[in-house]
Symmetry: none
Subunit: 200 residues, 4 copies
């Protein structure tokens, strides 16, 4: 089951350029940035991707997978539904030392840059956002079904509430480079989660 040369090169390009796209954005990232990061020539990059946008799309996929991967790794450590829900939040706390992609949340980064000329990127980021919400919704609904979370919980609203606080925490870290405010916001997300639990 060996991976072909092409597959390996594509993977190398994506892994090497994903952090750059996440930090500098689509417009701020040049082909030269990509060649320097990959140690490949521009011709080689264009041999593996149709254009810059295709690289950016693949990099966004990669960054989103990393981002969500950090969460799922923590979530899947636990069987317990209470810990699973908290698993979606704890990696955002500074004490977790999570290996989130450098440059912040790829979905938020993409959604805030994307003007009309970058529709495919925007769409993918929006889908990622909604899929994250859906994961949380399912977890909450399972907790309700298990009788562990309050029966009258609005799963959709609670999911959004938690995501809003986690994302804003990440953003405050970008803004202030200090963990104090970030952790304060993340702790509020934990409160929101605990608030729907019958025994906190």
């Amino acid at each position: 089951m060996k991976s072909s040369k092409t597959e390996r090169t594509r993977a190398h390009i994506i892994a090497a350029t994903a952090p750059i796209f996440n930090k500098k954005g689509y417009a701020g990232t040049s082909i030269t940035d990509l060649t320097e990061a990959t140690k490949l020539t521009s011709g080689s990059i264009y041999g593996n991707f149709a254009n810059k946008e295709e690289v950016a799309l693949a990099a966004l996929d990669y960054n989103m997978a990393c981002f969500c991967g950090v969460l799922h790794q923590e979530v899947n450590k636990h069987k317990n539904i209470r810990d699973r829900l908290l698993g979606y939040i704890k990696p955002f706390h500074s004490s977790a030392n999570s290996s989130f992609p450098v440059g912040g949340c790829p979905m938020v980064n993409t959604l805030t840059e994307a003007d009309d000329t970058l529709e495919p990127l925007r769409k993918k980021a929006a889908e990622g956002m909604l899929s994250w919400k859906q994961d949380l919704v399912k977890t909450i609904e399972q907790g309700i079904a298990e009788g562990v979370f309050k029966a009258d919980t609005d799963a959709g609203k609670t999911a959004m509430h938690i995501i809003a606080l986690c994302e804003f925490g990440t953003l405050m870290y970008s803004a202030t480079q200090s963990v104090k405010q970030t952790d304060e916001v993340v702790n509020m997300a934990i409160d929101v989660a605990k608030n729907i639990m019958i025994t906190p």
Copy 2:
């Protein structure tokens, strides 16, 4: 105290280019974008600003003033401290038809684009964020002093909570172009505000 020609030209450049920077970001905005929006020549822009970054900084100031202006206008409609606090939130609801800058929140946009090469922009946006928080904190503390808000309220945390939800609401609108999720999140911010009020 008449405004000089220079001042008027600067003001014209700023007002005309601010929406572009907010939509397309710093890297995505070209000098040609600026000359087209202002109907001025590139020489004229460079006669009034040292370089592209200076225009972007002035545009960010302008965008932040617009953004906060919308909030303060609503807040200052009211003497009542309860309505003043809600005034910080209501403009984010789709029913408010607020004249926020097109392209979303300039602070968030700047913080998510800004890599290390754009420190001055990042710094200004971060300051704007904290100043917004400080406005909310003061309002909440005044409410506590007036005996209208609960005495044990953590003003800082509550301010952050409200901002997180409002910003995330704005972002969700960018993501989905639908008001449903946005309003849901903004309503949660209103709940947070009402929750610290003694008589809701």
Copy 3:
């Protein structure tokens, strides 16, 4: 005397790319054009030809053979020297529906593009032109020998005259996409031919 694999591949490349070179010219034809037309890889083309110029030379040979082939096919239908001479002209008339190479006369196309960097192509096209003339000269001289064409005919001048009109007719079709002017010019070539015939 079976054709080897190599020979077949070469033939395939030539046949598939000849129309492209004739339409787009040497400079306007890229290796990608060739790989797309042949469904082969660039490596395969370079395995069979030293470089792009070698392909172009072979394609020119092919195109010239097609072009002259159309004429000879018509000429060889006839034993009669009068019809043989007219056979060099009639295929240019729109009513003939001749299968000339698309893109016009390969010789003219090459001679008009060719700057100094494409000497071998230019030379080959010039030779083709002269060989065509020689064919006509021989036919005319045979007619004179047979006593069918006027004894005082200048075979060289008449051949050139006929070719000039036929080529110009082809060119006018490129220019106007209409057959009217083309046919008018071709009819003049027929007049030139008939004019040297003793009994018209």
Copy 4:
């Protein structure tokens, strides 16, 4: 009535690049060719023309004006309608040492290169061709009106006949670099012209 800087630069670019386009064709001419010929930077060329095609169109206009200018200069030397008609032909004879654009007839060059992607160039060249024909037609009709040319002359056919021979003469010079065949063909054009004159 001074010419602006822009007009002078445009004129310089056109005059300097026109021979290159005529020799190498559109596809064969690079922006580097243009910067080397003009001693300007690429930015400067793009400051004066929207893109390469616009330069090529202006250069074609210039080349066509040169080409026809040579003819009209000779034609206008004469009042006599017989000499005026011959004036359209004589410049093609090698003895005339005419200052035709280097690289042959710009109309023929353009028509033989132009594939579908170069429609505007093709169209302009075709118009030039037809306008040349029209000039000849008018001259011939005037000669008929004056009673100097035979009354039953087909002006259109005669014009085409003359042009075909002159163009083919030019082409044969490109092919053989020898004047012998060229002059032979041009002399035939003179015969065609003289043939419609009542007193030759």
